[in-house]
Subunit: 467 residues, 2 copies
């Protein structure tokens, strides 16, 4: 009977005969007996294959693909519950030890990044990408259970209405041609930086919607935190205010983490051990207070701290860090944007838990955020998490036509281009809001991987578009 390794371990009966397929992760033994660790990607665990069939094993090395038929037995060795006593082993595809890059030794993450096409076969990356899957599935499950409808907003768009960043141009013109009226869409077009404006249109008819798709930034940032192409989740809810938006975001983050903890334990335990080893390479003062699993459990068991931007500024102004000049950007005045060092201080030093900052100065936030009664701040919120900083940015949207027009005029946003956005405020407008969550940031947080390029299958960064 053909079984995946996952099913074999979960459902297999001792003394029954099974056939499995997979790749050899390692091979050891002596003249009499050989042990193969075989993995088929279906789960974290390998199945240990025990063989006395020396003749079949000569060309089987790390990276080879094999078909194994044998009897399932409880393992006497430590490290695994079962083993498969091979009656037959077929080499399907060989892997020359001289040329196969993924040999059973420590590889740097940089090396594996250059071999992104093969890193799915490593313990670390197969765990990372299984967990990326788990997070994505939990997102859909969470929203489906709450009666949200999945909305595919367009990728190719005409405007950078949000002002969120530099955009890639999309064109069908021959290189060097400039006349956009001859272009595919008859005008200049770009890759979207956010599906929010269109998600609002959906929510203002379907009630509750969410997007989950790729977004793009053409920013020349070669850091461990930036990708030119990344995935965003953007829910949008009608008949809702800022409190509802915050509640939704916190509930969603806890739900996802809980789902991964419950369903991908082996992967997380491995990544936890890996993260601890990485921590030990750092100076003592730079190490995290909690290990990965503790950090995840803390998130689901704690209330998030909700504070006003104005209070955050007061805390930062009065902090020892500020007085001793430890901030690269000293905090002196109300109105400044918070830098990562400030966010880090609030989350890791002051509150020691996730922090939701609300009601930012209108000057540092987008045109669509709802003006508060003080006429100085808007109903915005950012969620900051330990180690990773901002993962969520959201707001209640300005649903009042007159206020919206005033803001658009003040910020030179074209009302002609966004006629459809304004229409929703003219006809049956309702209070509504939503947020954006960057998938990769959350995968980093849950897997403990430091570089964002290691949590997306094939990273797109400046001058880097291999695969």
């Amino acid at each position: 009977m053909k079984f995946s390794v996952q099913n074999l371990i979960k459902l297999g009966n001792v003394d029954s005969v099974y056939t499995i397929f997979g790749w050899v992760r390692s091979k050891r033994g002596n003249k009499q007996i050989t042990f193969l660790a075989v993995n088929d990607g279906s789960c974290f665990e390998n199945i240990q294959v025990v063989s006395e069939l020396e003749k079949d094993l000569k060309n089987i090395n790390t990276g080879s693909s094999v078909r194994v038929t044998g009897k399932l037995k409880e393992s006497k060795g430590s490290g695994q519950k079962y083993e498969l006593i091979a009656d037959e082993i077929e080499l399907i595809g060989s892997a020359n030890p001289e040329s196969y890059p993924i040999q059973p030794k420590a590889h740097t993450l940089e090396f594996l990044r250059e071999n992104s096409h093969l890193r799915f076969r490593t313990t670390t990356f197969s765990s990372v990408f299984r967990i990326r899957h788990a997070i994505s599935f939990a997102v859909h499950k969470f929203f489906n259970e709450r009666n949200f409808y999945y909305l595919n907003t367009p990728l190719i768009t005409t405007s950078d209405a949000e002002g969120a960043g530099e955009m890639f141009r999309v064109t069908n013109l021959k290189p060097g041609e400039k006349n956009y009226s001859n272009d595919f869409f008859g005008k200049e077009t770009y890759l979207t930086v956010s599906g929010q404006l269109e998600a609002e249109l959906g929510a203002l008819g379907l009630g509750k919607v969410y997007t989950f798709g790729p977004t793009f930034r053409a920013e020349n940032s070669n850091t461990s935190r930036h990708l030119a192409e990344f995935w965003m989740i953007e829910p949008e809810i009608s008949f809702a205010d800022l409190d509802d938006v915050i509640k939704l975001a916190v509930e969603m983050i806890k739900y996802i983490i809980n789902y991964v903890l419950e369903n991908y334990k082996s992967d997380l335990i491995f990544l936890n051990d890996r993260a601890i080893k990485e921590q030990l390479k750092l100076k003592k003062e730079a190490r995290d207070e909690f290990n990965l699993l503790e950090k995840l459990n803390n998130i689901i068991n704690q209330d998030f701290e909700i504070i006003e931007y104005s209070d955050a500024i007061e805390i930062l102004k009065k902090s020892k860090h500020n007085k001793k000049g430890k901030f690269k950007f000293p905090v002196n005045d109300w109105g400044v944007d918070l830098q990562s060092e400030h966010e880090k201080y609030l989350v890791e030093k002051k509150f020691k838990k996730p922090v939701v900052i609300i009601n930012y100065p209108k000057e540092i936030k987008a045109f669509y955020m709802r003006m508060n009664d003080d006429n100085k701040t808007v109903a915005a919120m950012d969620i900051l998490m330990p180690g990773i900083g901002e993962v969520v940015g959201g707001s209640q949207r300005e649903e009042r036509l007159d206020h919206l027009i005033k803001r658009m005029n003040g910020m030179n946003i074209s009302k002609d281009e966004l006629w459809w956005y304004l229409d929703t405020r003219k006809f049956g407008t309702v209070p509504h809001g939503g947020f954006g969550l960057g998938l990769e940031r959350l995968v980093q947080f849950i897997t403990g991987m430091n570089n964002i390029r290691d949590v997306i299958p094939f990273a797109r960064t400046p001058k880097n578009i291999e695969f």
Copy 2:
């Protein structure tokens, strides 16, 4: 207590007081009593609001948003189970009957397409987009239950390796500039036409993966079947042959249809009635034999017909249609590609059920498909459905390095560009395969909508990029 209309209908207790929010779909009544049909997008059903509070209702029209508090009662009228006897009605956002485009009368689909930002508030389109959500969720659920991992393959790519169609260029250069070495990625880049090649890399480590994301074609086709931007689902499985790929596709299609039938009955019944009305506008001979619900039930209860390409050609050659010259493209020789009229004949006239055609001539298929032993055909398969034609195209992939190189040489495909693809055949190669399914085609099939622009929230077609 604040409730969505869905929850009110499902969970509400008669004689309890509830508050609901929504948009007025219609208003009728007399001086003493007013009936409002209120919909919040949460489900197909409206809640009927009954009010004797004349003063509050003056400015409430179709399209207005309202908050209603009242007692839930069983309805004496036909058409709904419950009604809400209003104690209080608040107008949140008005909708001037002179200017609000979505008045309670028949609108053409073209008109609603021009008002894509508001069509979510119509009965037809809210049903279509709820079902689009249901299909998407069923896709994730299906794969998650079967231990597939969701893989996000890159959108920006360097090559049209597959030759699947014209591509959009992605650039960061100033208009008119030509020197790609100065471009963001240092070379010419495009929007992907398929994630398959990268999905193979994932499957050859994780075992079973699927993509579900946007793909692009820069083809100047202004038809009811083509979009420049659409969504594709592409599963890829290791340790599998063509039979496994076909089984997976058939199982998936049946699973999705069954999921929608079980969970979105009201929406489907409405769309079924709508489709019947549309059919009645056609000449008798052009009408479908089955209505929408019958068609869907037929799919899940029938085996799909699996036939060889060679047999399909024989059937077509010998058909009365061919002999009487009814085909625009007569079928005379083995080797020709099948046209929609031929597919239609096979599905609707000959077999009267979905047809899977396998083993196509290598000349009309892509380089990565596995060569059969006859050296003339490749292990490809297309699934054809009644009314809609091809919805799935798949194959077993060529896993043998020497065969693959021969095909790439023969078709002038760059081995240097695809070094990573070849690597997977050098190191631990295994039999594997997969398919692509166009989401919009399936949404069309399940909702009965004729124009593909009506099953995606904001369509991208030549010269058309509004919203």
